[in-house]
Each structure stands twice: as C-alpha cells, then as structure tokens.
C-alpha cells in the first residue's frame, strides 16, 4: 500500500499526566487544574497508587526496545 496516496489526517495529541493526581493535563508547566500541584513533581496518588513505578517500567522497556532495534540495525549493516 502506498501511503502517499492515502487521504491526509491529523494525528491525535498525547497529553502529559499530572505526576501528583495522575489525571491528564494540557500543559505540565502550569499548576494542575485538577489538584493545583506542580504536575511535574511526582507525589500524591501518582506515587501511592503505583503509577510512578508503572511509568518508570514502561520507559525502561521502551529504552530497551529502542536499544535492541539500534543493535539490530548495526548488525544488519555489518553483514
């Protein structure tokens, strides 16, 4: 399938989480509209309910996946 011939669409945006109340916010640079905390400072429910650990794990898996892909590319080039 040639993607260039497909109709154009607008991708959705990914919102950041407030790292205190674990609700989505539009902008992490301003106080959270839900809990009024600094959305970038981990704490509150985000930490207590395990979302902090979950996100850290997800980031780690992501980095590992990207590293594995890079490695694969390097090996392919060497062959």
């Amino acid at each position: 399938m040639d993607l260039s011939t497909m109709p154009k669409g607008k991708p959705s945006v990914s919102l950041p989480l407030c790292l205190n109340c674990a609700e989505y916010v539009l902008d992490q640079a301003v106080p959270c509209p839900h809990c009024n905390h600094d959305p970038m400072k981990p704490g509150g429910r985000y930490k207590d309910d395990g979302f902090y650990a979950r996100d850290a794990l997800e980031r780690l898996l992501d980095v590992m996946e990207r590293a594995a892909k890079l490695q694969e590319n390097v090996e392919n080039k060497q062959e």
Binding site: M1, L3, S4, M6, P7, K8, G9, K10, P11, S12, V13, S14, L15, P16, L17, C21, A22, E23, Y24, L26, P33, R45, F51, R54, D55, E58, R59
Partner: protein, 392 residues
C-alpha cells in the same frame, strides 16, 4: 467499537495517512435473538445482502487499503451460510478476523471450523445476570449459551472476550457479571454504555442516566483492579470515558494512551450487509453513508466521501453544549459520535462522560436525558432526547 487486540493500535502514520486499520462488518442482519436494546433492530436478513463473491471482493479491497483487523458482526454473523468462507478469505490476507456474537446456537463444531478457517477470537455479548440477560435478549437459554461458547472457545485456544452493555438494569450487577464471565475463562471484559438507538430508543427506560456514570465507573475501576490480579483485562469501549481519575488506569500512562477521540472514518470503517459503507457500523445510514460498494470502490469512497471524512482533521467546530467549553475538547471532541448523535441527531455533546459528570457534580448539578421524539421503525434509527439539568 470494541477493543480486543494489538493490530488495532494506531500509529501516527496510520493517523496521518488515514489507514482504515479496523473494520466492523455487519455481514447479515439475520439474528436468532430479539434484543430489547438492539440498535440495528436485527432479526430478518436484509433483502439485498452482499453475496459471497461480492463479499470476497470487498475483503480484497479492504486488504488493499491496509486494514489489519475485521470484526464480523450481525445480526448474527454465523447465520450466513458462507461465514466460514468469509473468515478464511479475511485471514488469507493476514488480517486478524474476530467475531462479535450473541452465541445462541454457536456450538463446538462451528467454533472448531471457525478456528480452522482462521478466526482469531470471539467476543460474546453478556448483558447481565441470567434472568436479565435472557429477558433483554428475548430468549431463554441465551445466557447459558454465552457461557458455553466462551468455555469451548477458550478450550480450543481462542482469545475470548465478554462484552457487556452497561444500562439501567445491568449496572447494578457488574461485579457479579464479571465474576461469572471471568470464571468462563475470558481474557478481556469489554464494556459499553447502551446507546439510545433502535430498540433502545424505543425502550428508553433501559438507558442509564448520565448522572450514574460516575458511581458506575468508580465501581468499574475497582473491578479493573481486581481483574488485574486474576489476569483479566477490563477494557472500556470507545463510548466509555472520558478522562477523570480512572483514565490513567485503563487507557493511559505517561505521555499518551488516553482517549484520543472517535476514530470513525479516520481509522475505522463500518459496513452494512447490503454493502453500505459508513465511518462506524453503528452510525445511521441516512446521514453517514459514504456510498455502496456495488456502486463505488472502497478506495473511491474512502478518498472522496465527505460522510467518511468528518473526523480526519480533528476539528472542534462541531462541539456544542458542555463539551464545547471542556478542558479536553481538542483531544476528545465529545467522545463517541454514535452515542451523542443517537441522542441529539448530531455529534459533539456527550453527557455520558466521567469528567463532565464529575465537573458538574462539583457545581451541584446533575444531568438526565429525556426522550422528546420517538425513533422511526428502521435499523439504526434514532429518536430525539434533551438534557435536563437538575440541582443535586
């Protein structure tokens, strides 16, 4: 539309190039149940359903456009004599084929044959405890048929999901329903609000009132956490949401994963048994048909029909009412088009929203929906409802 599997996960590329990743296909309107909440008023076959060759051709066209998953539904998809051939043809393209079913009359032999043909999974509709389910589905024994089909499919090694509509009856027994379907071996439990369409618009007592969305979803969050401990994934369907404190639990994570708006016509297609192509299978033909596959190619409709393209530029122009001023309007765009359109004959304002209900609750307000006009006696017909605001 429901969620069961990985092929449906959208990449930026899918969204930028409007790849119709996921298709829900009503292969026949024939049905052996008589559901009191059936949006398509299924029962009898349509006069002019696609024949096998036409259906094959349509499958080939979907494959050419990049479709990765097709869910066959009805009516009852297995009532088509050639349903296994369709499954086979879909699978032959490497497209995941799943089936959404009421499971009444679905036996081991059929499930085995479906698996051999390449069926990747089934979703069985379980809409309450036994008595309520049999009543709303219009057939005694239909509840037990669901459980039996789920167990057999699981034993055969299929991915099985139970799909439950949350409505004015079922919401009281969600945990009990979950325990029963979990015991039948499901890997996913998919939830959806009953929408005011077809029979559900006639029998509007069945609709959950929007102000109950919050307590119900609070309970679903508890079930979700319990389900995780026994290896079952609870999945809120596209019309369940949005945002609020539970979004991160079932959809999200840091940097996205949250509800991203209705995919109808952007990355999803709905097909009626007569070959009508829509942006979502649940949307009414009168206003949402992009044409018929007997007259136009799928590619032509996908590129040129405005009825299929309304979601692609993610505009917020169509928003109105509470959704227009919502914090998440740009991302959510009023949630499920079908849910809102079925109430108001236009999308863009959705009272079935957790964030909305919570926000209004803080202001001492709750919302109710009330029917002001009946729906005509046709498939996918909608009535007209109004929102009544009440002081709590």
């Amino acid at each position: 539309m429901n969620e069961m599997s990985a092929p449906r996960i959208l990449t930026d590329q899918d969204q930028e190039h409007c790849v119709p990743v996921y298709v829900v296909w009503e292969t026949t309107l024939a049905c052996n149940l008589k559901c009191g909440h059936c949006g398509s008023r299924a029962g009898d076959r349509r006069d002019d359903e696609l024949d096998t060759q036409e259906a094959f051709d349509l499958i080939d066209q979907m494959a050419a456009l990049g479709t990765r998953e097709i869910t066959i539904i009805g009516g009852e998809a297995f009532l088509r004599k050639d349903w296994l051939k369709l499954v086979e043809r879909i699978s032959s393209h490497g497209i995941l084929c799943t089936m959404q079913t009421g499971a009444y009359g679905l036996n081991e032999k059929m499930l085995r044959a479906a698996m051999d043909a390449g069926l990747g999974g089934i979703g069985v509709s379980v809409d309450g405890l036994e008595e309520d389910h049999d009543k709303i589905r219009g057939r005694k024994g239909s509840f037990q048929a669901c459980l039996k089909a789920l167990r057999i499919a699981k034993e055969l090694g299929m991915v099985t999901s139970a799909n439950t509509q949350i409505n004015a009856i079922s919401y009281q027994y969600l945990r009990k329903v979950f325990d029963i379907v979990a015991d039948a071996g499901i890997s996913h439990w998919q939830l959806q609000w009953t929408v005011a369409m077809g029979n559900a618009a006639d029998n509007d007592d069945v609709l959950l009132q929007p102000y109950l969305v919050k307590p119900v979803m609070d309970e679903v969050a508890e079930i979700f956490k319990h389900a995780q401990t026994i290896g079952v994934t609870v999945r809120p369907g596209n019309n369940i949401g949005y945002f609020g404190k539970h979004e991160v639990l079932w959809r999200g994570g840091q940097g996205g994963g949250h509800y991203a708006g209705c995919p109808a016509g952007h990355n999803a297609i709905g097909i009626e048994a007569d070959g009508t192509i829509k942006a979502c299978p649940s949307l009414p033909k009168e206003r949402y048909s992009g044409g018929n596959i007997r007259d136009l190619t799928l590619e032509d409709m996908w590129h040129n029909s405005p009825e299929l393209a309304f979601n692609r530029n993610r505009s917020t122009e169509q928003l109105w009412g509470h959704c227009k001023g919502c914090l998440y309007s740009d991302v959510c765009r009023g949630g499920c088009t079908w849910t809102a359109d079925s109430l108001f004959r236009k999308p863009g304002n959705n009272p079935y929203c957790y964030y909305r209900v919570s926000t209004l609750e803080k202001q001492g307000i709750r919302e109710r929906v009330q029917k002001i006009e009946e729906a005509p006696d046709t498939p996918f017909a909608v009535g007209l409802f109004e929102i009544i605001e009440e002081q709590i």
